[in-house]
């Protein structure tokens, strides 16, 4: 066994260790540990990605001396490594962008806990991405949920506490459904390991035995993970949770936590249930319809909103709808488009949150649109970045959003039954996106006569500006050189089965 094969397991364990040790450190040291950790994990995952691309096949790593199906196991393929690497990059950038703001938002003695939660959140995301065992997935879903609640309520005011309570209730409902699904699968197949369950499920579905429990299991797992990732009718917790928490939390929650669950769902579809069986069940149509509804209603709510951060949060509902629409198409192309949109949305949404905080800060902390007038002149870097993010969300060429919309459209064309609704809703949603994002961009570039607030220059915010530039570069990379990434995703999805 090569040394590199240890890296994914080591990176999960490193995150856990860092979280444990940070709980005894002061704020500054905890921050340092966190930054070093993310950089290290990024490096380790990049090495693994190179290794897997070089060998061209996935490998399993047994956690302990007992091989599967008796022991725990993680599985490393191209897509897993790429996702882990991408999550690390987004997390690092989000934390750097919100670092200066964090001191105002979090009580002084509790900042070290913020980094403890972040480290554990990263470990759970990595474990969700890499795991090959359903129960391990559930354990780390729990860690993920609790960490996310903590990240929402660490900024203590009434609204965040309420938002956290709401998030917790909805999220626990989702976890419960997932757990019930896992229990039923275990009852039917006698395994918890993904590949063994898949074999057994294939046998069961071929023989037609236990048809109803299998269907309910698929439904419970899909709906449970859909609730946790805020698919349209279950999105009530989202605007408050993203709108009022600290800016780094909002960026991390919207771009990583919900995406982790979606990735787990994709993994379950491919590696537990089997793509064909999942496609044959009617659940996939339900996801498709919910996705379409989310695309429209999320955008409509965003148009009505008068608070820039809640507007961005509602936009997440629409974008999650896109992802579920892609999953619901039931084709490989749709799935690849969904995975690409996970990347593109993660890169863009965290950028928007970080840029929005720069704009509201130069408007006296107000998030109302009327106060934001001319904010882009007061903070030029944030203004440009927000514009880039908006253009990407709307789907203008050169930026990542364009590619994902193109991929969705291509996938829709290949699917006869769902082509028309998908294309129509895609069109409507794009127009709605354009309405609310362009409204904001025009608003922030409208000059004001008398300047109530002071301007901010590069000198006052070096780290923040550098982060924004990194975000823009990431977005443009995803938009311009998308072909290799799409190839990578397709290769990874092929490795899944």
């Amino acid at each position: 066994m090569d040394l590199v094969q240890n890296f994914p397991a080591v990176s999960i364990l490193l995150c856990l260790f860092a979280g444990i040790i940070s709980s005894g450190l002061k704020e500054k040291a905890a921050r340092y540990v966190n930054t070093v950790l993310i950089a290290t994990v990024m490096f380790l995952n990049a090495c693994t990605l190179g290794y897997v691309l070089h060998t061209g096949e996935a490998f399993v790593y047994v956690m302990g001396k007992f091989p599967a199906p008796w022991g725990n196991e993680i599985r490393v393929g191209v897509l897993e490594c790429f996702m882990a690497l991408f999550f690390c990059i987004i997390m690092l950038l989000s934390l750097l962008g919100g670092r200066k703001k964090l001191a105002d938002e979090v009580e002084e003695g509790k900042t070290f806990l913020y980094y403890v939660l972040m480290n554990l959140l990263l470990s759970s995301l990595l474990a969700l991405v890499y795991t090959n065992d359903l129960f391990t997935a559930y354990v780390f879903v729990e860690i993920n949920t609790i960490a996310a609640c903590g990240l929402i309520m660490i900024r203590q005011n009434g609204r965040t506490i309420e938002a956290a309570a709401r998030y917790m209730i909805m999220s626990l409902l989702g976890s419960g459904m997932l757990l019930m699904g896992i229990c039923m699968l275990y009852d039917l197949t006698g395994h918890l390991l993904m590949s063994n369950i898949k074999e057994q499920v294939a046998i069961l579905s071929a023989s037609g035995e236990y048809r109803i429990p299998l269907l309910v299991t698929i439904a419970l797992m899909s709906v449970g993970l859909a609730i946790k990732s805020a698919l349209f009718p279950f999105h009530a917790w989202l605007p408050d949770a993203y709108g009022y928490s600290t800016v780094s939390s909002a960026a991390v929650l919207s771009s990583l936590v919900s995406k982790g669950y979606i990735f787990l769902l994709i993994k379950i579809i491919y590696r537990v249930i089997g793509f064909d069986i999942f496609e044959a069940s009617k659940i996939i149509d339900v996801l498709f319809v919910f996705g379409l509804m989310g695309m429209i209603f999320g955008s409509l709510s965003a148009i009505k909103e008068n608070d820039v951060r809640r507007m961005i949060a509602y936009s997440s509902v629409a974008q999650i709808g896109y992802i579920y629409m892609g999953i619901g198409m039931g084709t490989q192309a749709g799935m690849a488009a969904s995975v690409f949109h996970i990347l593109s949305h993660a890169a863009t949404k965290s950028l928007l949150f970080i840029a929005a905080i720069g704009l509201t800060d130069v408007s006296g902390g107000s998030r109302k649109f009327i106060d934001l007038t001319g904010a882009a002149y007061r903070n030029k870097w944030a203004g440009v970045t927000f514009t880039v993010g908006s253009l990407s969300m709307v789907g203008v060429p050169l930026f990542s959003g364009f590619i994902s919309k193109l991929l969705f459209a291509q996938a829709a064309v290949q699917n006869n039954g769902k082509m028309l609704p998908a294309l129509i809703v895609l069109g409507i949603s794009t127009i709605l996106n354009a309405i609310y994002f362009m409204k904001t961009v025009i608003r922030i570039y409208t000059p004001v006569e008398e300047n109530k607030y002071e301007c901010i220059t590069f000198k006052d915010m070096k780290l923040y500006a550098v982060t924004l530039v990194c975000f823009i570069v990431l977005n443009v990379i995803l938009g311009v050189s998308s072909q290799p990434i799409v190839d990578l995703i397709e290769q990874g999805l092929a490795m899944f089965s």
């Binding site: 129960f135 019930m180 006698g190 395994h191 918890l192 109803i212």
Partner: protein
Amino acid sequence: MSKPKPQKEYEKTGAFHFFRWLSGCKDPYVGEVEMKPQKEEVVPESTILERMNERQMIRDKVYDAENNKGLVIFHRIYVASAILFCIALVGLLLYTVSYLPRTGNPSNPDNNEVAERYIESGLQETGAMNIVSGMILTYRAFDTFGETNVLFIATCCVMILLMVDDSILKKQEEKNDRRFEPKNDAILQGTAFVLCPIIFIFGIYVILNGHLSPGGGFSGGAILGAGLILYVCAFGFKKTQQFFNEHIYKVAKITALCMYGLIGTYFYITGANGIENHIPLGIPGHILSSGIILPINICVGLEVACTMYAFYALFRRGGL
């Protein structure tokens, strides 16, 4: 016959105290112990009513009940549909359960491979008489490490919510120690004086015998934590802090989790790379046996005890 003792000497003996207590002449606790509980803050009824009205007023204002009859109706429909949804979900799940494999049928689940191996060769492979311990701490050690971290992160979240500043904690020290209870309750203290050591010893026994008999880190840790909580209730935070304060809590928690992590990491990495690990399995049934289970049980027990105590202390006074 022995000479009767002079009255003065007799008054010092236990017999005198006993008979005095028996005849009801003097209660030994009077004057020594606070017999009456702290005065609770009496909230006049009018204030309560005012508060309730305020709440109703806020609710009316938020939802603008008079002008929004639709909203009131929506609320009713919302509650009704929530109940209907729950009933539907329960019905669906019950319906599904009736299609699941029957309990007790030897051939189900259709594949018993995993459970079979755990039961048949669990003893040789893990060295643990207690198969459950062997399963969760050896076969599935990674899951259990995750589970221990769930406890850890839960304490962190409670700390975020409930931890108060040290200065406030100092100011309220006196109040926190009694909180409407009589201070230094002799009955409670006497009972705790007898019970606490027994509880601690039993907890340690359960932890150390986790691989031999039912029990283990999680249950033993809970017992230890319960003992600590009893001690705090009886003797107050000031006395408890002489041997268990925030610093010791942190050291114990971090050491326990790190030890678990290190042992686990060694086990995973040697196992995955096919290197022989040097943790002897020992003879099954001996106290020093079954490889990594015993040290991990100790770590888990410490962590669980710390978590239990931390929850209690945080909920009671907002600090450790």
